[in-house]
Symmetry: C4
Subunit: 269 residues, 4 copies
Amino acid sequence: KDYKEPPPAPLFEPGELKSWSFYRAGIAEFVATFLFLYITILTVMGVVSSKTKCSTVGIQGIAWAFGGMIFALVYCTAGISGGHINPAVTFGLFLARKLSLTRALYYIVMQCLGAICGAGVVKGFKKSIYMANGGGANFVNPGYTKGDGLGAEIIGTFVLVYTVMSATDAKRNARDSHVPILAPLPIGFAVFLVHLATIPITGTGINPARSLGAAIIYNRDHAWNDQASSSMGALFFQWIFWVGPFIGAALAAIYHQVVIRAIPFKSRR
Amino acid sequence: KDYKEPPPAPLFEPGELKSWSFYRAGIAEFVATFLFLYITILTVMGVVSSKTKCSTVGIQGIAWAFGGMIFALVYCTAGISGGHINPAVTFGLFLARKLSLTRALYYIVMQCLGAICGAGVVKGFKKSIYMANGGGANFVNPGYTKGDGLGAEIIGTFVLVYTVMSATDAKRNARDSHVPILAPLPIGFAVFLVHLATIPITGTGINPARSLGAAIIYNRDHAWNDQASSSMGALFFQWIFWVGPFIGAALAAIYHQVVIRAIPFKSRR
Amino acid sequence: KDYKEPPPAPLFEPGELKSWSFYRAGIAEFVATFLFLYITILTVMGVVSSKTKCSTVGIQGIAWAFGGMIFALVYCTAGISGGHINPAVTFGLFLARKLSLTRALYYIVMQCLGAICGAGVVKGFKKSIYMANGGGANFVNPGYTKGDGLGAEIIGTFVLVYTVMSATDAKRNARDSHVPILAPLPIGFAVFLVHLATIPITGTGINPARSLGAAIIYNRDHAWNDQASSSMGALFFQWIFWVGPFIGAALAAIYHQVVIRAIPFKSRR
Amino acid sequence: KDYKEPPPAPLFEPGELKSWSFYRAGIAEFVATFLFLYITILTVMGVVSSKTKCSTVGIQGIAWAFGGMIFALVYCTAGISGGHINPAVTFGLFLARKLSLTRALYYIVMQCLGAICGAGVVKGFKKSIYMANGGGANFVNPGYTKGDGLGAEIIGTFVLVYTVMSATDAKRNARDSHVPILAPLPIGFAVFLVHLATIPITGTGINPARSLGAAIIYNRDHAWNDQASSSMGALFFQWIFWVGPFIGAALAAIYHQVVIRAIPFKSRR
């Protein structure tokens, strides 16, 4: 066995607060999440605001926008910040002790700020279209229960975080040369695939920053519209898009670390 | 020639029954097939339950779901279990003596259990939609004979297993650097392509676990509905989705081992 | 410069006729072209035989079928036969002296036989659908002149063969590590892209074996139908789908060998 | 740190004017941009000239044509000219001092000439269809302001040039093996993704040569048509498709060189 499991990251690492690379990583997460929301929510607006979906890129095009952006952004930022662009991924990797608590919280704040700004720019282009078409916010669609929505978010995030953990596994990277090389591609595909399956249920969150950014930008204006059902809807449903992804990420971290890697049983040696 | 054909796997290898990696591999196959059925059957339900296909990800989106999931899951599980996720692939690789009979049977059982659970979760979301739209089960579509369906399954599985064997060929891996690196991608594409071609004929099986899982979950309830034609249909047609893929896998194994590798003529040396 | 341009292949190489790998390569080209026509023409039939394209994989799905199959098949056969699956590619590589005349002619014959068999199997599934929908044969569509069709085939094949030559260039392979690793992917994409652009003009040939296979299987029956315009159409137009691709392949070979590589000016040294 | 930041390219490098590789690089840029416009504008024509988008490759197919061609052409020309195929990319890399001013200007001229020729060939196929459907030229669509169009071009080009800079970063290439190998793929995806998002706003330029080529070929004829609004439209809007991409490229160059690489702060050492 010619690989070494890296030691777990400490909860708090004072040294990293003094390094430029720590702050640079947060800026990279902010910019990446900004671009992610900008491109994806703009694509959603183009599709949902059209009467006939045939003259747009279609629902499948929306799925490609989400998955493709994650592919490109993970590729671009992997070497700078690790390329999370998603609080659920950050949470899962934190549970696996791949980064410190300080860094995890810092990343999540920057991701949420980036997402809010990205959705805000889309609204700035065409406020009327944005507000008339749900603003790209995640809802549990009529006909589905909150439990359905929560379940869809849990399993969907499991697929994503399980793929991330497989792609960044130290043991496999040492043994299989193709694992690190393709890494951003299956991660992007995982996002694409979950969108194919669960857009009809929740619009697909599996990324709390993406859900929060769209919900905040969409509801800030609606507060004066007195349409209680839809106006508060996006924020009301928010808990599903934080609790679901975090449970899914935790399950993926447990599955990978305990079942696949059996790390708890090895660490005593 | 700087490569060594690995020796054929024994039919029964007692040692592997004592190793954790053997049981872990089965768990990985179970989880992967569970996720495979969950994402793909949920995508199918989203498309077929909509009146206008234009407001869904479309039939092409279904093909992407099947192919894309195989790509991501082969990437994730290749280093753990070999990444079969399909009894026909396990059967083909067993014929090529890449794994023991014990392991092959164990994988197939775990794949079928995972598929049944995955389809069950989809049904749990919206039972009425699931039962009203065929449950993602494979049928020979009206207008095609059983022979057509069998033929489509045979050739489709040949394409898949031939791609798997080319991607994992020891001789080529030693010589062409791109063979192992891209491997999960052409395997996923093979599944995508066969779906593009044969969804109109059988819905595309080429994976007995996928066909069995959907058929069992779909028919368990229908048994009390007295709609003989559709209720027993999925199980009635089942033999096609086991015999066809196994014949296709066997032909691919013969083509690759005998014609391409000429292994029978070499083994005496 | 740490690479060596391989010497040009002789026109006739007696030695290769005695090697099993020569005959195996031809079998691999036959099987690959068979599978190529089978999957692609079956996909075309599924789309064109449906009244509403929205409930099929669509014209874009047809383009994916052609491009995706070339990606998967080049990946699988590159190490066995070079992965041509197309007489125009064989012709272009022959002009660049990458293979002998004997081998080129042998490949082209095997490709054409494989294509005829592949189209034949599709017709076998549903003869009535096959004959009523043009059999996947290439035509110059109404509204376009033969010159348009010829031009589209020339430039389209140029795109494909130029990509093939760039991907297999000995100098670049020595210098850029990513060139050989991804190779099958841009080659497959080239086929996909030319289909996106020229399906409305000719249905996109850029592969004489594919055009011949579909035309022969489609017209054999029509000979008795007395519908001169459509019955002889496919064979009547055939010259366009041989002359066009061969001119395009020749231009790509000249561009790559003379302009990019300047091989004529170096060979004297 | 086992990598060396290459020294900034001089503004004017007399030596390169005497080398064949300099002129060859320009020819490669010309041919690549020619093929890029030919395939993409032909795809656009096929979609927009059809009454029902469902019987075409659709708007999503247009996005694939643009992104896919950039993927294939970057793959083919990366080793010859660097694979820019876009004046905004050339401008961004010039700002990052990756190439001389002479070379940058030469590339931009060759890209524009190639684009004009490519669009011209598409018009040659079917002049009436070409002129009746906007000629694939970029406009700010009705309902959007010029500011919207400019903003969409700036952020879209930022996404593209940021991806290019990440893919060609010397530090990351030395450390992460997957960075150079996949490079053409995320660059192509970036183009695809920006098209998914901004086709409804401007048709998506993010490439001044592409915008100029289509505008010139489309307007040359219209000058006699007296339809001032549409005839001069494409050229009238041109400034947006030069200023926007150049601003976006400059921002990406600043972000990558100053924030991510901190090169100004290092160069004194």
